[in-house]
């Protein structure tokens, strides 16, 4: 049995990596991947906690999060595609439509 604190540590490292990537990468797809990484870090934490406490709620949340992540990726990629169609780039430095 692995100590839960190791799993938590791994999840924290993964989450930090994802966050860092989300801040610093220019490519929108990479940012999306980083967000997925964060979500999976949280999933890992959920699953670990569920196993530790013997409670299925964590698994339920993990599955829920996976489903949401999937739909998020689908929508996100669709948005990027249409942005690329309009602006011919998906570099986040150059896309600032939200300002207006």
């Amino acid at each position: 049995m692995i100590d839960p604190s190791w799993v938590s540590g791994l999840a924290a490292i993964l989450f930090t990596l994802g966050l860092w990537g989300a801040f610093h990468r220019k490519n929108a797809i990479v940012v999306l991947m980083c967000i997925e990484l964060m979500l999976n870090a949280v999933n890992l934490q959920f699953v670990a906690a569920a196993t530790h406490w013997g409670d299925v709620t964590g698994w339920v949340y993990a599955i829920f999060a996976v489903a949401i992540a999937a739909s998020e990726v689908a929508i996100g990629l669709a948005i990027f595609l249409s942005i690329y169609g309009q602006q011919e780039t998906i570099s986040l430095d150059e896309v600032n439509l939200l300002k207006h």
Partner: protein, 726 residues
């Protein structure tokens, strides 16, 4: 006092005219210009006349029934409210009622008002309906006319100071409407506004006075409560004096006394019947009525407690009497002379009332009643004479207009600047307008106080009463002296007016073509001439006493006895000082004033013109005096004092300057302050919040990564906070 008999119908007296007001207005609006409306109804004139006739009949019936005793009738409760007495904690009901109250004062003023309103109405039909400038708007005149009359009648009959004030204000409104009848003339619009605003200043004080009275008398303004001696003695006398003083300011405004007198001469902008109405029948009498109404307070209050108010009333009267007479010296406008004469004569009455109130308050009951009677009798005489004088002057002006049209047409040159009211354009009208000249002569003699004619008895009574007080209270010498001087001045300016208008040669071509021709106009003139002469009978009935002392007066129908009493009082007084005074007054008013006027303005008529024998003597006398005296007044006429008299002693200028510069200037400044500072503060908040939001908006870079960063930081902050809480 009980309510029964004709008094139950007394409410109709103000009600009928007030109901006629919309009727005439709407009918006029509907039928304006149709021949039957113009010819048969005289554009509403006959409707008004019918109503005023009914009012007159009802009034006479009412007067007849109430000549010897008063009565009162409560009609309904107008306002009901509550008052919380903080001492006892009780909540009491306070009621403002509506009712009729009749005593000697009511009776006298009711007669004056209804009688004169009726006659002026007759006169108006002659005057207004024959002037083309009034075509198609006479219904407005008659509607406002009846409303005006109802204001006066209602005020006289009201049973409380509250309703007195309500009708008082209605008169203010009507004076505004009627003075501004020719609204398209800037001078008329200005005069109307001036009249309303000046009297409004007085009214404000009157309201404050009433409010104080209400508070003093435990929530009552009805006469039956406030005139109860026990109630008067129970209140704080000092506060009562202040309240009465405040109310007097209202009377000063309404009766055009110094310093609120400026509106009256300008009020001549209205049609002449309006001047007659304002000056004789209604408006200016209202102020006198209010002061006369206060008599019970003075009679029942503690001895001497209210003397100060009485002295102020008399002093204001004295000042105004002389000031107005002085200004009247130089007026060239026929109606303006009469206006200042009104002011001056009202001032006499105020001085008389002041004396009466002082005497009453200091325990000289008999003298007080005499003074009161004399004042009221002068009010009566002045109203009759002044109503007649104004109507006669209207007659002159009307015929001058006619003649001017004739002449202008004849010579085919239209002179628009011809002033039909200026006495400089008149002269020698005595033979051409016999009825008018007679009326004017009798009226002037009454105002001057020529012995044996109406005004003489009352004026003598006022002067002697004022001196009676002066013997007891030294400060009263001031008003008493002023009105004594004023008597001589009255003699001068009234004679001047008459001689300039009727004696001498015609000064313009227009005046040569004047002749009496308008129907309706002579009726009131003749009636009032006889009424003024008839006043001698009233004098012999000892009216000086019974007007002043209603409840147990010395009203006598024994004319011979009464005449003997009156003659003895006037010409052979037991008090040598008063006797001397009488002869001084007669000398001033009969000899000095008129002879000066004759010396300056007298003269024979044109060759071949002959006046009626009862007028001719005056003209002959004047030309004799003039020829023998060779009096030259050019130095005086050029003096700076005469110039300032022409400027009405600058009061109007000062008031205008105060109004336009100080009040309006301050108002403009406040408007600026309001929009720049107060609203500016709001706008400042608005623009600074907008600026702040513009600053905050810089955070929205539009870059998705910044948003993610912010979301992460936010989450972190929440975690930290939760940690802290845990």
């Amino acid at each position: 006092m009980s309510g029964s008999g004709i008094i139950e119908y007394a409410v109709l007296i103000p009600l009928m005219p007030i109901l006629a007001f919309p009727v005439i207005l709407f009918l006029g609006k509907m039928f304006n210009g149709t021949p039957s409306w113009v010819k048969n109804v005289k554009e509403g004139g006959l409707i008004a006349l019918t109503v005023m006739g009914a009012v007159l009949i009802l009034s006479i019936l009412l007067i007849k029934e109430n000549l010897h005793h008063g009565s009162a009738d409560h009609i309904f409760n107008w306002l009901t409210s509550s008052w919380w007495d903080s001492d006892t904690g009780a909540i009491q009901k306070k009621v403002f009622g509506v009712g009729i109250y009749i005593d000697h004062l009511t009776v006298m003023l009711l007669f004056v008002a209804s009688f004169l309103c009726f006659l002026i109405n007759v006169f108006s039909i002659g005057y207004m309906n024959t002037d083309p400038i009034n075509d198609n708007r006479n219904h407005r005149f008659y509607a406002e006319f009846v409303l005006f009359c109802s204001g006066m009648l209602g005020m006289v009959l009201a049973d409380s100071f509250l309703w007195l004030f309500i009708f008082w204000e209605i008169m203010g409104l009507c004076s505004y409407l009627l003075i501004g009848f020719y609204y398209e003339r800037p001078s008329a619009a200005y005069a109307a506004k001036k009249a309303f605003l000046t009297t409004r200043v007085g009214d404000v004080f009157l309201v404050i006075g009433l409010v104080m009275l209400w508070n003093l008398f435990d929530g009552h303004l009805d006469y039956s409560y406030v005139f109860n001696p026990e109630n008067i003695q129970a209140v704080d006398q000092g506060a009562l004096q202040i309240a009465l003083g405040m109310m007097f300011v209202g009377a000063v405004g309404k009766s055009a006394q110094f310093p609120l007198h400026v509106w009256l001469p300008d009020a001549m902008e209205g049609p002449t019947p309006v001047s007659a109405l304002i000056h004789a029948a209604t408006m200016v009498n209202a102020g006198l009525y209010l002061v006369a109404r206060m008599f019970p307070f003075f009679a029942e209050a503690e001895l001497g407690a209210l003397s100060d108010v009485a002295i102020i009333i008399a002093i204001i009267g004295g000042i105004t009497a002389v000031m107005a007479a002085l200004i009247a010296f130089v007026q060239m406008d026929l109606k303006k002379v009469l206006a200042y004469s009104t002011m001056s004569q009202l001032a006499y009455i105020f001085t008389g009332l002041g004396s009466a109130l002082w005497l009453a308050n200091n325990g000289y009951d008999d003298l007080a009643k005499f003074a009161m009677g004399a004042s009221l009798f002068h009010l009566f005489n002045h109203a009759m004479a002044k109503g007649m004088l104004f109507m006669a002057s209207g007659s002159v002006i009307h015929e001058m207009h006619h003649a001017h049209h004739e002449v202008a047409h004849h010579d085919d040159h239209d002179d628009d600047h011809f002033d039909a009211q200026s006495m400089e354009n008149m002269g020698g009208l005595a033979s051409r307008m016999p009825i008018t000249a007679t009326a004017m002569l009798v009226g002037s003699m009454s105002i001057i106080g020529i012995p044996f004619i109406g005004g003489f008895w009352s004026k003598e009574g006022i002067i002697s009463s004022a001196w009676q007080v002066a013997l007891k209270e030294p400060i009263f010498i001031f008003p008493a002296l002023l009105i004594l001087i004023g008597a001589g001045m009255t003699g001068f300016y009234m004679s001047r007016m008459w001689f300039m208008t009727f004696a001498g040669k015609p000064k313009t071509e227009v005046a040569e073509h004047v002749h009496e021709q308008t129907p309706w106009i002579p009726i009131p003139l003749v009636t009032l001439t006889f009424m003024t002469l008839f006043a001698i009978v009233l004098a012999f009935m000892h009216s000086g006493h019974w007007l002043g002392d209603f409840d147990n007066g010395h009203y006598t129908s024994d004319l011979v006895h009464g005449a003997a009493d009156e003659m003895h009082h006037v010409f052979a007084n037991d008090d040598p000082f008063l006797l001397l005074l009488t002869y001084v007054a007669i000398g001033l008013s009969l000899v000095l004033g008129p002879s000066l006027a004759m010396a300056l303005y007298g003269g024979r008529l044109d060759e071949g013109q002959k006046a009626k024998p009862w007028i001719q003597w005056a003209i002959n006398l004047s030309s004799k005096v003039r020829r023998s005296s060779h009096f030259d007044n050019s130095a005086w006429a050029e003096s700076s004092f005469a110039k300032s008299l022409h400027k009405r002693l600058h009061f109007d200028d000062w008031y205008d300057a105060a109004m336009m510069k100080i009040v309006v200037g301050f108002a403009n400044l406040s408007a600026l302050f309001d929009s720049k500072i107060i609203d500016g503060a709001i706008k400042g908040i608005e623009s600074s919040s907008q600026g702040a939001s513009r600053k905050i908006r810089l955070l929205t870079t539009g870059s998705a990564r910044d948003y993610i960063m912010m979301a992460a930081l936010g989450t972190l902050a929440i975690f930290l906070m939760l940690w802290g809480v845990a």
